[in-house]
């Protein structure tokens, strides 16, 4: 989703400001989804990637007010450079897990909002991994954001929904998989796979999976074994029982992730 947001901005000739600790070429979704390396855009000044410590650290502390100053400076600079609009992204998940992190996150958020809210020239996406946040922090975030954007699913036919996840890298599966959906499943699984990193399948809301799809996971896992293979997270008790009955060892390459009752 973030990749699409940034890509659309670059495409429309808008200024992009990303507050994140990654290099331009590793901005999520750009290289993998749109096959563009953002480095030349950063060099040309279309894209500013600002590390968190430059964006908000003052006297050794993270300060939301400092974040506001940085953004104000960047927006002014962009408008001076005759950009028509500014898009801002900030990946805040890192703060959610720290003591006082939620307060900092909300503080930053308010500052960004006060900056961006009244302006029609700037749009911002604050990226947060919902699983890293406490329910209270999420509710607070919901109330400060006008629109809550969910990542677009890679596939949704009303029976099966597959959504890309970023932290951890992989797919969230919801609904039912049978052989009518094997082709879509293989295609999506292949599109998120990367031989250098683990692929996680989040299964909490998967209600049905046929043996053929388990077989596909096995096949896929064999191809991925150069990396760390496939990690299955949070299977339902029924699914866990099925995998145990047919034998976990019959799925080489698959790793048990979070939420297994029997390790």
């Amino acid at each position: 989703m973030l990749g699409d947001f940034v890509f659309a901005g670059l495409d429309a000739g808008e200024k992009i400001i990303c507050v994140t600790d990654t290099l331009p070429r590793f901005l999520p979704g750009l290289l993998t989804r749109h096959r563009i390396d953002a480095t030349p855009f950063a060099e040309a000044g279309h894209l500013s990637v600002i590390p968190w410590n430059k964006a908000c650290v003052r006297n050794g502390y993270c300060d939301p007010a400092q974040m506001a100053k940085t953004l104000e400076r960047e927006i002014t600079k962009a408008l001076d450079q005759k950009f028509r609009r500014v898009r801002i992204t900030a990946d805040m998940t890192w703060a959610a897990g720290l003591p006082g992190g939620s307060e900092f996150m909300l503080g930053c958020d308010q500052e960004v909002d006060s900056m961006v809210g009244p302006s029609t020239l700037a749009t911002a996406i604050c990226q947060v991994d919902r699983r890293g946040c406490t329910p209270g922090a999420l509710d607070a975030l919901r109330s400060t954001h006008e629109v809550l954007v969910e990542a677009n699913p890679e596939y949704d036919d009303g029976v099966l929904k597959m959504t890309r996840t970023y932290e951890p890298h992989g797919l969230r599966l919801e609904g039912e998989i049978d052989s009518a959906r094997h082709a879509a499943f293989t295609h999506t699984l292949t599109s998120v796979s990367d031989p250098r990193s683990e692929v996680h399948l989040e299964l909490t809301r998967l209600k049905f999976i046929d043996l053929g799809a388990l077989n596909l996971i096995g096949t896929h896992a064999m191809r991925l074994t150069r990396g760390n293979g496939l990690v299955l997270d949070n299977p339902s008790p029924d699914l866990e029982m099925v995998i145990q009955m047919v034998g976990f060892h019959r799925f080489p390459g698959i790793t048990r992730g979070h939420g297994w009752r029997n390790q």
């Binding site: 049905f208 053929g212 096949t219 009955m245 060892h249 019959r250 080489p252």
Partner: protein
């Protein structure tokens, strides 16, 4: 798997003395050769063996056969896992399935199990003696026993070659010729027209829930039925229909099409190496439910799944 030939003998005994005369030297020989020695026997025979074996019994793993022989396909898988676990040691098993209280259909499946042991462990080097109590078994069980064990121990220490032995492929095909009780008239049915089986699963769920099937069994039934229906869509000839009805204390779910299927004789009973092996689907379905029966011929193909309620 050691690559050596399987020894699979039936011991037909008429009393404790006869049982011990064959079983004890068999187990002791295994201990002498550092085999993994297993005695899966009913409690009465375990007591008798423990008395005679004395201190040797500490090296023998005893399992109550009444708790072990519950599901033929799972039992083969359990033995298969055991052979792998103990390798390179050889598995030596005194294996006495219990026959009491089994229905005719269950007897056939256990007969098939005895036959499949020859195919599944043919190259494992395992040494197996299956004791049968002559006083208890019916003529049908005796007949199955003779057809499924290449060697017999009957009133003697040395095994006799068994001329009634039938190779597993033929035995298996014979079991699949036994007629099935037809579905009652007016049975609920649904036509299967594509690989999208969402509606078919809902059809089964609704009927199974009405008969209070527990959720875990229902999930297993859905996976098995989905597998069988997918096979019919992929390999069968339409029209394909699925029927659900209650028979005694079981829920029966049958998928029928008009195609002629030649099932790969033993695939679907032998534990596959992994999920990519041929036959994984049918074998997996068999592992999950109580019984799957296949009847294939010129009249079409029917696959029946039975789950106890």
């Amino acid at each position: 798997m050691t690559g050596e030939t399987l020894v699979h003998r039936a011991l037909l005994y008429g009393g404790e003395e006869e049982f011990l005369a064959a079983a004890v030297p068999f187990l002791q020989e295994g201990l002498g050769e550092s085999d993994h020695v297993l005695a899966v026997v009913p409690p009465m025979n375990e007591i008798a063996l423990r008395d005679v074996l004395g201190t040797d019994m500490n090296s023998v793993v005893f399992i109550n056969s009444l708790d072990f022989y519950l599901h033929p396909v799972r039992t083969i898988a359990q033995y298969n896992d055991l052979v792998r676990e103990v390798a390179p040691r050889r598995l030596r098993a005194l294996a006495e399935p219990s026959w009491r209280g089994r229905s005719a259909a269950e007897m056939s499946e256990w007969g098939r199990y005895e036959s499949i042991v020859n195919a599944a462990f043919g190259r494992s080097g395992a040494q197996v003696i299956c004791p049968y109590d002559r006083r208890e078994i019916s003529p049908a069980i005796r007949e199955a026993c003779m057809s499924t064990h290449p060697e017999l121990l009957e009133g003697g220490y040395y095994p006799a070659y068994n001329t009634d032995y039938t190779v597993p492929e033929s035995f298996n095909a014979n079991v699949d010729r036994e007629p099935l009780v037809p579905a009652p008239p007016g049975t609920d049915r649904i036509l299967i027209e594509s690989a999208d089986l969402c509606a078919v699963r809902a059809f089964i769920s609704e009927r199974a829930s009405r008969r209070r099937m527990n959720p875990a069994d229902l999930n297993h039934l859905l996976i098995a039925a989905n597998e069988v229906a997918t096979n019919a869509v992929t390999h069968g000839t339409p029209p394909i229909e699925l029927m659900v009805w209650t028979q005694g204390d079981s829920l029966v779910c049958e998928v029928a099409d008009i195609g002629l299927w030649h099932p790969e004789e033993l695939v679907g009973f032998l534990p596959p190496e992994n999920a990519n092996s041929i036959g994984f689907g049918l074998w997996g379905a068999r592992m999950l439910v109580d019984l799957i029966q296949v009847r294939a011929g010129f009249h079409g193909t029917r696959v029946r799944i039975t789950t106890r309620l």
